[in-house]
């Protein structure tokens, strides 16, 4: 091959490579997402620290630098209205009790609590399959998805989170809510199945409220969140596996007009979720409300 021609091909190839690299590094929007919050060395040190404390990182972690704002929300009146309409159309009888308002139709009872939590109880329970307990997660999820669609409970942003198989043929399927392309772990829909029958659906749905002014703050890296959590938990007596590290929003639920939810790193260790505030790095716990301390 002609040497001059080979050089030309290499020049074109390297120029293209440089364009690609430069785009990722310096492009104003895209570049910002791909700037690295966790360097390779930092990741190695984090894994080493985890191993020293008997934890192993078995999940991929997002190494990009991310900036995010609080998520401002209120209880979703639209979802409450939608559930109510379904019951009222069926001629529901209503009972007001201390723990909430009860709506009865044949086979279903809805309890709407002041906190915004809605519980729908099915009596008799609804059969959605056979031997679900022995099935794969995907098959169970498909059956539950179909049930939610039929009952018009598949709201916008509904996102399958995980499912748990508990004792006595009990399965709990957890959904969360996607807002602004991020999961909101406080917005939930939980389906409780016992012996292949859906017993109840718990629904706590949130409505995003525009936050003015928007002020994005850089979140701590996943590596820092892991370090903080291990510092809080201390060394594990038995080997623990970290199987999921994801960024979303989480807070308690309040009987309030509206509230802000901070971004969190949700970390799954041996089946248990932990939430690390992605702004402060603190482990999220029950919120401090002065009046409650009186």
């Amino acid at each position: 091959m002609n040497l001059g021609r080979a050089k030309l091909i290499l020049i074109i190839a390297f120029a293209a490579l440089n364009l690609f690299l430069g785009y990722h590094l310096f492009w104003p929007d895209f570049g910002r997402l791909t700037r690295v919050a966790v360097s390779a060395e930092e990741l190695r040190l984090t894994e080493q620290m985890l191993a020293e404390n008997n934890y192993s990182l078995e999940a991929p972690i997002n190494r990009a630098v991310q900036s995010i704002d609080f998520l401002s929300v209120s209880q979703s009146l639209a979802v409450q209205r939608s559930v109510l309409l379904h019951f009222l159309r069926e001629g529901a009888s209503i009972n007001q009790a201390e723990d909430g308002n009860y709506y009865y139709i044949e086979g279903e009872t809805a309890v709407i609590h002041a906190s915004g939590l809605i519980t729908i109880l099915y009596n008799p329970p609804v059969v959605i399959g056979e031997n679900l307990y022995g099935m794969e997660s995907r098959e169970i999820r498909n059956a539950v998805d179909a049930f939610l669609a039929e009952k018009q409970l598949n709201f916008d942003g509904l996102n399958f989170d995980y499912l748990e198989k508990e004792e006595a043929s009990t399965i709990v399927v957890y959904y969360n809510q996607i807002v602004n392309e991020a999961p909101v772990f406080s917005g939930q829909l939980n389906v409780i199945i016992i012996n292949d029958r859906i017993q109840s659906v718990d629904l706590y749905w949130l409505e995003p409220v525009e936050r003015i002014p928007i002020r994005e703050i850089r979140v701590i890296s996943a590596a820092e969140a892991l370090s903080n959590l291990v510092y809080e938990l201390g060394p594990a007596p038995e080997p623990q596996m970290i199987t999921k590290v994801e960024l979303g929003y989480y807070s308690g639920d309040y009987d309030a007009e509206k509230w802000e939810i901070p971004p969190v790193w949700r970390i799954l260790i041996n089946g248990q979720h932990y939430y690390i505030n992605a702004f402060t790095g603190n482990k999220e716990q029950e919120i401090v409300i002065p009046e409650q301390l009186q």
């Binding site: 050089k7 990722h24 919050a37 060395e41 630098v65 309030a256 939810i261 919120i287 401090v288 409300i289």
Partner: protein, 449 residues
């Protein structure tokens, strides 16, 4: 020539690609700091008060014919008298502590000054460093054989020190007492145990020095307003980086700010702050240091307005939580205001644990437009309070301790606004009883705003 140029370009491109790859792989700084200058700026709401301006007397009583004139927080003469008394104490015990004066029991009293909380004195204090470590609870100025003597008492009624004063030392104070006495003032008498028992029955112990009016007192009912708080400034004093605090807007209009560890709840009238993580800790400060810390904390978080008096500092232990608590009360022209919650801070060596602040200001109106209330006599008020206490008590105590007895204002709701309603304030066995001054109807805790 052309081939050489190609080689140079190729080498440059290879070098650049290596550099860019390194940058992309290893990144820049792991995480940049996000703080803005304005977030961390030092917020000064108010400079803390010097130690001698933290504790003010509860009552200054000057001897008049057939009784006393009394002066309390919020009155012009009260501040002037206290300033003169402080000067007198410092000059009387500037160099040494004179020996006991051996004054007779009945030496005429010119002035008494009651301190509550007590004022720390001694070598580490700015006030009376010449005295041994202790607390000053009362100061008397007495005259004997045409000379004047100052006597300092501890909480146990023991004489801490006494000194003779020169005529020039007392001249300014005596002049001020005469000037204050020329104002139209009610005459007060110190409540004696026998008089209290005669009014309200046996079994009542007078636990304190209570000055009560000997003639009809007329008090006006005033509109009140909660103090105005600069929310943004306040947020900056509680949260290092308040942009990390999230808000919860409650249905009653209150707003909570929290960073997950501490919470600040702002209402239309005041605020409450909690930082429970600090609860477990020690409070090893001396009382004097605790007084200074209290002053600094209230000055920093909202300020210390005129008329707000520090009325109590206590040290308490609850399990592994040891703390100091300081409580303030607002006064208007010598009369305290009783609201739904006190302004109180709780702190220990680790920091501020809890702070509730509820301060109302009386909106002065012309006397001819004010709704006036003529106070019922103290005997009638005391009897009513004792009867109410006995009626409400689940178990009848063997002894009733009268722990406070004075006139004041209760902050209550009117049709469209809040009012400061003149009341008799009576504290029996730690139970507060507020009676409207004219008809002696009770304001219960839930009536207070």
């Amino acid at each position: 020539m052309k081939e050489n140029l190609k080689s140079v370009i190729l080498l440059a491109l290879v070098g650049t690609s290596l550099l860019l790859t390194y940058q992309l792989w290893y990144g820049q700084q792991p995480v940049e700091l996000t703080e803005d200058e304005d977030i961390y700026e030092r917020i000064i709401i108010e400079q803390p008060r010097p130690p001698e301006q933290i504790v003010f007397p509860e009552t200054i009583a000057t001897n008049a014919e057939n009784g006393f004139h009394i002066f309390r927080e919020g009155e012009q003469f009260y501040y002037r008298l206290w300033e003169k008394i402080l000067g007198l104490m410092n000059s009387a015990f500037e160099e040494d502590i004179p020996g006991a004066a051996d004054l007779p029991e009945g030496a005429p009293l010119l002035l008494s000054c009651y301190l509550n909380p007590f004022l720390p004195v001694g070598s580490d204090q700015s006030l009376l460093p010449i005295l041994p470590e202790g607390e000053l609870a009362r100061l008397d100025l007495v005259s004997w054989n045409e000379s004047y003597w100052i006597r300092l008492f501890s909480a146990e009624e023991e004489v801490l020190a006494e000194a003779e004063l020169t005529a020039s030392q007392t001249a300014a104070l005596k002049e001020l007492i005469v000037l204050a006495g020329e104002e139209e003032r009610a005459m007060y008498k110190l409540l004696e145990s026998n008089a209290a028992k005669a009014a309200a029955g046996e079994g009542l112990t007078v636990a304190g020095a209570f000055f009560l009016p000997q003639q009809d007192i007329t008090l006006a009912r005033y509109p009140v307003k909660a103090e105005t708080i600069n929310r943004e400034q306040l947020l900056k004093t509680f949260f290092v980086d308040y942009s990390l605090a999230r808000t919860i807007e409650e249905k009653d209009g209150a707003v909570i700010y929290t960073d997950g560890e501490r919470g600040l709840r702002l209402t239309a009238a005041g605020f409450e702050y909690s930082y429970p993580r600090l609860e477990e800790g020690e409070a090893n400060q001396t009382v004097a240091d605790a007084l200074n810390s209290s002053g600094t904390l209230i000055s920093f978080h909202g300020g210390w307005p005129a008329g707000l008096r520090l009325e109590k500092v206590t040290h308490s232990r609850l399990g592994r939580s040891v703390s100091y608590s300081a409580q303030w009360r607002m006064y208007y022209r010598g009369y305290p205001l009783y609201a739904a919650k006190p302004t109180r801070i709780v702190f220990n060596d680790r920091g501020l644990i809890h702070f509730s602040r509820l301060i109302y200001n009386i909106q002065a109106v012309d006397q001819d437009q004010a709704e006036l209330r003529v106070a019922a006599g103290w005997q009638e008020a005391l009897k009513t309070a004792v009867d109410l206490f006995r009626k409400d008590a689940e178990e009848q105590p063997a002894e009733l301790r009268l722990e406070a007895f004075n006139l004041g204002y209760a902050v209550v709701a009117g049709v469209n606004e809040l009012w400061a309603e003149p009341v008799w304030h009576i504290l029996i066995n730690d139970q507060r009883i507020l009676l409207r001054v004219d008809n002696l109807l009770q304001f219960k805790a839930e009536d207070l705003q």
